[in-house]
Symmetry: C2
Subunit: 245 residues, 2 copies
């Protein structure tokens, strides 16, 4: 799979082998591959071992609502998501949903916040290029099948329609790319990058050509493109193009 081109889903919210079966909705999703990279993970990721907030009825309710929101976004997109759908698929009463989340925007924002609560850390291969290549390949792999691509796609789409979803997406990526900066700090310590390298810009530069193709130009991405993005970012770093001015 790693070396096959992945064509971006042509209409974001249309994946749907699952989602209309309430019984299935309430089951615990299988654990996602470790490290979903700097894109929002699918529902399963934060149900995986290692999640920060286990147990408790409140936590279970929150997770059930999050799972219902994700499957609704994947199946119908933000415009088709309704409080009824979330109630039906989470088993949580509508009045509870309104009381605790205010409405759909609050539920979507909370689902994104939970997506940021995993224990993912960036790769540590011993070299800047190795780390960036792994990071880029994680992005490609997360879009290599519809099941893992559906939630991040739905979140990015929702941000176009809801200011609150856009704020949550902004916060999600800021935190996620923030974690990736460890890769740059280690490279500076090893002397692989100038000390005043703009880590935020560098880690975004690696994902940018991939996410551009997935979400905007709708072109395929593959491992070769991931490696190219990593190599380009390393070369630019060495040349000082990411030094802070």
């Amino acid at each position: 799979m790693k070396d096959e081109a992945v064509t971006a889903g042509q209409s974001g919210g249309a994946s749907s082998a699952e989602g209309h079966d309430p019984a299935k909705e309430k089951s615990v999703a299988p654990a996602a591959p470790a490290g979903a990279g700097p894109v929002p993970p699918t529902a399963s990721a934060s149900a995986a071992p290692g999640t920060r907030r286990p147990g408790g009825r409140t936590a279970r309710t929150r997770a059930a609502v999050r799972d219902a929101v994700l499957s609704g976004l994947a199946d119908h997109g933000y415009p088709g998501l309704t409080v009824e759908y979330v109630a039906d698929h989470s088993g949580v009463h509508k009045t509870t949903l309104y009381r605790r989340w205010g409405g759909l925007e609050g539920m979507v924002a909370d689902a994104l916040e939970m997506a940021g609560e995993d224990t993912w850390t960036p790769p540590d291969t011993g070299s800047l290029e190795g780390d960036l290549r792994e990071l880029a390949r994680e992005v490609v792999e997360s879009f290599s099948d519809e099941a893992t691509a559906a939630a991040p796609t739905a979140f990015v789409a929702a941000a176009f329609q809801s200011a609150r979803a856009a704020d949550a997406l902004h916060a999600y990526y800021a935190e996620r790319f923030g974690r990736c900066e460890a890769v740059v700090e280690r490279a500076v310590e090893r002397g692989e990058a100038p000390p005043d390298t703009d880590a935020a810009a560098l880690v975004r530069a690696v994902s940018a050509p991939l996410l551009l193709r997935v979400f905007i130009t709708r072109e395929p991405v593959d491992a070769a493109l991931a490696d190219q993005a990593a190599a380009a970012a390393v070369a630019a770093t060495r040349a000082g193009a990411f030094e802070r001015r």
Copy 2:
């Protein structure tokens, strides 16, 4: 304006000083600044002098429908766009709209196709870095005010909800980035880039960090970031990171 940070619109379809006034809708929009760069131009761009297909009743009808689609997308987003809205704002009868465009998806796709019919050409400053910097700055400038940002934002959002809009967006960017490749061809001729440079990857690498921030992470972009993207792409090119393998 050039050096001020531009914050990406938090909810894509919400700009709307105009749009609900049919009289205003039918007036000719003021000409856009020449060269909207590798992002879909606003309605006004292809009404500007130099457009390939002037005149004719059919062309005028098509342009009126395109303008109505753009203002509808900007005001309501794809989910809120209706054939009634387009009919009201274009002055074209609903039955004509259905007969000629099949429906909303056809109208949106046609509007994007028209966006690709301008005479924009990439900058030719005499150096690769100069050309890429101008290209990147054009992208930043096109998102520096809501009026010019609305249409491209609406198109990117529509692609998440309509497979046909996604296809049209894909075709738009393929053609637009194709034009940008002239910049790389000239650089190769001048000996500034290796002969087997992957021009398609290089021109995408320049826009990618900007469009990532505008459409995905919802972060501000500015001229300094444009220059950084250009410098990074040039350094990567010189180091051979974009050489075809």
